[in-house]
Subunit: 357 residues, 2 copies
């Protein structure tokens, strides 16, 4: 069930007349009424994984994210990523189905208290926080298999329902309830900021405008062996990386405000976890769609994924999924003593520095 | 019609069993689907009304708010207020039923361009902006008469429907759709900031937390004559002012983050306009309710208003109304070269200063 209003359409659907999807897909359904969904990304940025700040961060996560702790996330994960300049980021993401619980958690948990208390001048590390909080009508999800719950779908009270609004360009938009009455255009532009941002030694909020589109898109191939494993590693993953490299190299023209390729786990595992996800921010849903429908790098990913789903059917051991959010105005994008290229800093419309008085 | 979901209740309603209201009331209804409502307050702060900055501001409003201008507000008003320290504030408020139109208007209109461009160091005046933008489920309205459209109700596509959810304490909460599943508690506290904020010469954003409650509550007695005029001026208005003075003198204990008594018009009218409204921000809806249900100063206002409605019925020439919003996290509260006591500055949880690099 979706607790958003079922608006009578005044913006046409994207679905072609008579279209029937060729592959089954699933989407998050909400078992009890909910008003908003929150994901809170909090990270520590260090030169490498062995930095003592990383270990300290992981201890804070442990005492803040377990189910027994007050206002705990309904689901949480640890991820890591290396920035273009080689900086190591250890990333916590928590999901909440109750915005008040989330706000209380950030106010009271060891991780929130730590984040607010970092002195940007004295800290020997960087830290950042990006909060995605949207009414349900501003989010949509899709999963290629219902056998495991990814991202927000791992929250209690959320199940996976089979859908038929998939397999055509524009399906993501059609799945987002608000799209029936709002075209979700970007009201403002995001020119790249001139020069390098003085982000070291400071606590900064980056301001973005209305309708920025956030996507977390994931791949999971832990169960893949033989031919499917070989195919993932030699074909699908390279296609995916080529697509991401294209976006990262053409941020202005594609409207890509930030793009991170995250691997699940802390990076301290004996072998790399077979699960990755991409966290991206686009100027608008339209920009994300333009790449998806118009660029060969996405066609290669999309066609290959569909082909393999049809080839293996229920035996497919590679799962792909995404969750897309179109943000209200003025979310929280906060950077403490970070590298100037971190997150959306290079495309912030305005930067605000924490003031002590 | 209300385009918010009609949630099955898990938070009990406040309405007493069998309750029937003694006086008729009306509430805003949305003729076509809407997702969010925006009010944008933009003001210039000067020593007195004759300051040239006021006249310049009024010209900007004129070129930004008329219906023919691009992305114009669906309704707008001019108001004015004098702060406790005697500072004069000329206030524009615009209402939008489309958040993208609102964002485009602020990006492109003369008034928005002026506000963004003010140099806080060089300016000979102060300026502030407070943006209330909420999904429909986080707002409720009530009007004692349907004969004139006040506040957001003046937007095209909004009409006034008679209601029966009025006349008991907690009715405002019951009228807010989200209250069926969310108790809208304040997750954080707002201690008064130590010392005086260095707000002169700077552009600051004041940060508040989730579920701050904004109210605009209005009085209109233009048509009142004789006994009803006398009653308004000698009884209801003094009761109202006593209530406001109590809140303004007890901000910490009542959770009042800001309170302004606004008079309609620019103050340049030959005689004072017979229309006032109060713009207040409270820590939470609960704080507003506690004053309304628990304090003699509100009982005096409430009882008197009900008594006069019953006495005069359809002949009542004094209209009272309010619109209440419970805000998502991180709205926009921006102050440029303002007095330190302006708006929510004294209770901001954090202050952020605009950075040039």
């Amino acid at each position: 069930m979706n607790w958003s209003p079922n608006y009578p359409r005044r913006v046409p659907a994207q679905r072609p007349a008579g279209f029937e999807p060729r592959a089954p897909r699933w989407s998050a359904a909400y078992e009890s009424p909910m008003t908003a969904m929150t994901s809170d990304y909090i990270a520590v940025q260090t030169e490498n994984r062995d930095d003592p700040a990383t270990a300290a961060f992981l201890r804070l996560v442990e005492s803040s994210a377990d189910e027994a702790s007050a206002h705990a996330p309904a689901s949480s994960e640890l991820l890591h990523t290396t920035d273009a300049d080689g900086t190591w980021n250890t990333v916590f993401v928590g999901y909440w189905t109750d915005p008040t619980a989330h706000a209380r958690w950030f106010a009271q948990s060891p991780l929130g208290t730590w984040f607010r208390g970092i002195d940007p001048v004295a800290a020997a590390f960087g830290a950042w926080r990006e909060v995605i909080e949207v009414p349900l009508e501003r989010l949509e999800t899709v999963y290629s298999s219902p056998t495991r719950e990814f991202g927000l779908a791992a929250c209690a009270g959320i199940s996976l329902d089979p859908i038929t609004s998939n397999g055509y360009f524009g399906a993501a938009r059609d799945r987002m309830p608000i799209s029936a009455i709002d075209s979700l255009d970007a009201p403002v532009e995001y020119p790249r900021r001139a020069g390098s941002t003085s982000s070291r030694g400071r606590r900064l909020r980056a301001e973005l405008g209305l309708n920025v589109c956030a996507i977390r898109s994931g791949q999971y191939w832990k169960g893949a062996t033989g031919e499917q494993l070989e195919d993932y590693e030699s074909r699908l993953e390279p296609y995916l990386m080529r697509g991401m490299a294209y976006l990262a190299s053409n941020q202005e023209t594609t409207g890509t405000l930030s793009l991170r390729i995250l691997r699940s786990g802390t990076g301290g595992e004996e072998r790399p976890t077979r699960e990755t996800s991409v966290l991206g921010y686009f100027r608008s849903l339209d920009d994300l769609e333009s790449w998806a429908s118009g660029h060969p790098t996405h066609h290669a990913i999309h066609q290959h994924a569909i082909e393999k789903n049809r080839q293996y059917g229920d035996d497919r051991t590679v799962t792909t999924w995404h969750e897309v959010f179109v943000l209200p105005e003025s979310g929280i994008f906060e950077y403490v003593n970070c590298a100037p290229s971190t997150g959306v800093l290079p495309f912030a419309r305005q930067l605000w520095a924490l003031s002590d008085d």
